[in-house]
Subunit: 217 residues, 2 copies
DNA sequence: ATATTTAATACCGACCGTCGGTATGTATAA
DNA sequence: TTATACATACCGACGGTCGGTATTAAATAT
């Protein structure tokens, strides 16, 4: 392949190809050669010019995914004119209304063949998303009186944790009924913390999603 | 190495060696040669006589770990003369009193370098532990009136999920205070489900554990 | 301004060591 | 004698390296 004047494009191409391959085949089962083939013309040397290792590519890909999935949290956190509780409600409603991780979950029926990806999301949840995005929202809620919490750091972790790793993959559950039950249990958990932010509108939308995804199997 | 009269011993040796290596170095970074070296004398042919692949060894090792960590659940589930709620309390108290996963967590400061292991525990939680061990206990509690739950299947999943993946690794948290906060949030969550099973005795024991593990770092 | 040199870098592809896995052989237990 | 517990030589594929080439931008000279 001819030399590119602005190499960022090449980096993007590599990441794009790797992203799809990692999701389709899993990280371990994707070889450098696979990436080269998909890029059609780019050489091994080129890849190793831009990345130090295969794992380095994975890290960059994961960063993309987490950035993408955190974009909504970031935007809502800084959205003006809302109470903390309203922001929390917005997060759940909007992430259900237009599921960001669509591409990941739909394109990757063997998402669970790639523990690395799931684990990376988990790691990001604890190290980044919870303290930097959800915690400030809870704090604001505590300040403006719309939320009550004794240990907001841990509560933020728990909520994102359960939402990302337990609730989110529910679309793979064998039945819509199970998805609804998960939603109810999650709702009860949130109410236990004084957070009555889930409503019937969300449940209806959830059923829609569950049905759509179930049909694809 | 000479031929062993009962080959089960050889299988055990292979699993034992692999178990430690997987925990110390992670699965990916452990080579078959590493296992051979650790076994001292046994050959590659021997290993591939007893196992079809490296992944096959991993599966067997994971089965050992999950069996070990489920042994307590199994025993308590079938323990006679207790209400469902009392059994639930027993699970938490006894798993804190003598932490089963001691060996895993202490021997593996890079446990999180092995997403595969963590993921396997997670998978076992959803597919095995929750439906086969915790759910019957919740069901019994519902029957004998000591527990109230609308969706026991999902509740069992959630509880084990949070306990295994969020609470259990807390010993690696930077401070004892954070561990205590996690415990409080978890307690509040359980009380939200009408399960007031955690008490001060557990908290004290937890502080002990957290202090012990923190000193090792 | 234009031409020439220089240094940096985007990219190539042959090559290397290591890995998981296999084929074949040998010794021992039943 | 036959099945099996093990040994060993070997294979292809893998991640990664390295010397080299082509292209570009910056520095310098004209």
């Amino acid at each position: 392949m001819a030399r590119n004047k602005n190499p960022e494009e090449t980096v993007n191409l590599i990441l794009e190809a790797s992203y799809h391959l990692f999701i389709e085949k899993g990280y371990e089962r994707t070889s450098i050669q696979d990436i080269i083939d998909r890029l059609g013309g780019l050489s091994k040397g080129a890849i190793y010019h831009h990345f130090r290792s295969k794992e380095d590519i994975l890290v960059a890909v994961i960063e993309r995914i987490t950035d993408m999935s955190n974009a909504l949290l970031l935007e809502i956190r800084d959205r003006p004119g809302l109470t903390g509780k309203e922001k929390l409600t917005s997060i759940f409603w909007e992430s259900i209304r237009r599921p960001i991780q669509d591409k990941i979950f739909t394109a990757a029926p063997n998402f669970f063949d790639s523990p690395g990806l799931l684990f990376a999301l988990l790691h990001d949840t604890v190290e980044n998303a919870a303290p930097n995005y959800l915690l400030p929202i809870l704090q604001q809620g505590i300040d403006d009186g719309s939320i009550e919490a004794e240990c907001p750091e841990q509560l933020a972790e728990l909520i994102l944790f359960v939402a990302n790793v337990w609730i989110n993959p529910m679309i793979f559950d064998d039945s819509v009924e199970d998805a609804v039950r998960k939603f109810r249990v999650f709702d009860k958990m949130m109410r236990g913390f004084g957070l009555d932010i889930l409503d019937e509108r969300m449940l209806e939308r959830l059923k829609e999603l569950a049905e759509i995804y179930n049909k694809r199997k």
